[in-house]
């Protein structure tokens, strides 16, 4: 028997089986007394759920979303929110803190190798620092209020009691809703201002080869931003975009999507938020505790010349060549 004949035989057997199986279903349309059986063609809940995973119909009231009769996905979202998110977020955030703790113990605070020169190089302009701190402040507020809505009932509620916790959470909700706009403004400013210095370059490969500045004997070259910073930039931009879009969907409930879309938006919002928090914890660590001379770049806007030469040698050379080099504290204008 050839393959094609075999195939035809199977097809025939299948259609025969189908015909036999569907015959009783047709017969059910009439009851034993010959009268039509009212349920023979009636919609069945389980069948509808199997086909569409939720049951929707027509409704008389103007609230369109009320036309969804049953959506068992609600219980899946419950599972995500109460089990996956709680454990996932706890593992990711505590794991990041643990890693940073280990890094601090192992590496300590990375010093400026040559020591401070006393000469300052301008690194971030006022508008750049404003954008950074606008985003940073709103990120911390959004992060804390967001964590409260996920973990507050486990950590804070038993401590302060239900009434005080509700008061805190209600204020948190409004902070989260309103500060989101400041965050988006900050994010857009950062994207526009810093994008030109964050494109990947050949020097980034060399930076990785030289151990990214973590190996004391080697020197990792970099332009204005090294590969680590560029990754923080692009990942923050991606996470910020995802979190902003999903956040606004949640802020204007059911304006764009239906119940399923709202659930997905919440899943995306919380999952991305947890990863974003882990990323920013690392960013905060290296900018404060982890490295001498790094914080002042965003603090005063000026860095020590030796720090710049160590971590951003190409950028420092460029600045000096452009005439933006350090002003000697002793130099006075020739007047």
């Amino acid at each position: 028997m050839t393959v094609s004949r075999y195939f035809h035989a199977v097809l025939f057997a299948a259609s025969l089986a189908l015909a036999i199986c569907s015959a009783p279903a047709l017969a059910q349309k009439l009851g034993p007394d010959g009268a039509p059986n009212p349920t023979a063609s009636s919609v069945q809940e389980q069948q509808l759920l199997n086909e569409l995973s939720r049951i929707e119909g027509r409704i008389d009231i103007p609230d369109r979303k009320a036309a969804v009769l049953i959506q068992p996905a609600g219980r899946m979202w419950d599972y995500f929110h109460e089990v996956l998110l709680h454990w996932g977020a706890a593992i990711v955030i505590l794991g990041t803190l643990l890693l940073l703790g280990v890094a601090y113990i192992a590496l300590g605070r990375l010093p400026i190798k040559e020591g401070r020169s006393g000469l300052k190089l301008a690194r971030f302009k006022a508008i750049e620092r404003f954008s950074h701190w606008l985003t940073a402040t709103s990120f911390v507020l959004l992060g804390l209020t967001g964590l409260n809505i996920t973990f507050g009932k486990i950590l804070l509620l038993p401590v302060v009691g239900p009434e005080a916790f509700t008061a805190v959470s209600e204020v948190s909700k409004y902070i989260h809703n309103f500060v989101s706009f400041a965050f988006v403004v900050g994010l857009v400013l950062i994207a526009v201002i810093f994008v030109k210095d964050n494109f990947f370059q050949r020097v980034d490969i060399e930076w990785v080869k030289q151990g990214g500045g973590f190996i004391a004997s080697k020197h990792a070259p970099a332009g204005r931003f090294n590969l680590g910073e560029k990754l923080v930039f692009w990942l923050s931009l991606g996470a910020g975009l995802a979190i902003s879009v999903s956040g606004f969907l949640l802020l204007f409930p059911f304006s764009v999507t239906d119940i399923f879309g709202m659930q997905i938006a919440q899943v995306v919002h919380s999952a991305v938020a947890v990863l974003f928090i882990a990323l920013i914890l690392g960013h905060i660590y290296i900018g404060t505790l982890g490295m001498e001379g790094a914080f002042e770049a965003m603090g005063t806007g000026e860095v020590d010349l030796n720090w710049a030469k160590e971590h951003h040698d190409r950028w420092a050379e460029e600045q000096i060549a452009k005439g933006n080099g350090p002003k000697s504290p002793l130099a006075t204008p020739a007047e």
Binding site: N37, P38, E56, I61, P72, P162, F254, M262
Partner: protein, 200 residues
């Protein structure tokens, strides 16, 4: 102890919406909020069925599980109540609810939600208010349950499609109906709400 449930016999529901009206009137539910609604499946087609739906007072209620301020809880009768004093109007219970029961008055900016409102099984509120008091009525509506009565929607259903009461008793009534008339489209929502269905 009785376990209170709802059961809508869709083969009897005629989409008259009297349950919806009864609920709104009995509980003086504000404009824009519907604790109960009737949804018609396959409207205008053969086999069309209408189902009256409100909070099903689920077993392992997902709304209670996801509530970030833990203001939703089941009573010993299996009725799921909540405290409007504790609710922050975050909307999570709506995402988790398989039946679209939680409702929110629209207050303030954007999609800001007020305190959640839903079917209380006509059993008053889950807050600090005294049972049957005017303060309780103001916030949550009627407390018929405290007077030994069942929810008004089911009590005044003209075709006795909507049944309320002890889960075992209403399941028995439904079973007998299905056996007697020879057909039944099932206890809508039971598998999702109570992890069980009524086998006839």
């Amino acid at each position: 102890m009785a376990r209170m449930k709802f059961l809508c016999d869709a083969d009897r529901c005629i989409d008259c919406n009297a349950c919806v009206t009864a609920c709104k009137n009995e509980n003086e539910v504000p404009w824009g909020i519907n604790r109960r609604r009737v949804v018609t499946i396959n409207d205008g087609k053969p086999g069309e069925r209408s189902v009256s739906m409100a909070c099903m007072h689920c077993t392992d209620a997902p709304c209670a599980a996801v509530c970030p301020v833990e203001c939703i809880y089941p009573t010993e009768d299996g009725v799921v109540l909540h405290s409007k004093d504790l609710c922050i109007g975050c909307g999570y219970c709506f995402y988790a609810c398989p039946f679209g029961a939680p409702q929110y008055p629209k207050v303030g900016n954007f999609g800001s939600r007020g305190k959640m409102d839903k079917c209380t099984y006509c059993a008053g509120g889950g807050g600090q208010e005294e049972a049957g008091s005017a303060a309780e009525f103001e916030k949550y509506g009627s407390n018929r349950f405290g007077e030994g009565k069942l929810p008004l929607c089911a009590e005044m259903c003209s075709t006795k499609s909507l049944l309320a009461g002890d889960g075992e008793i209403i399941a028995q009534i439904y079973k007998e109906r299905v056996l007697k008339r020879g057909y039944g489209s099932g206890a809508w929502g039971w598998l999702t709400a109570y992890h069980e269905t009524i086998s006839v």
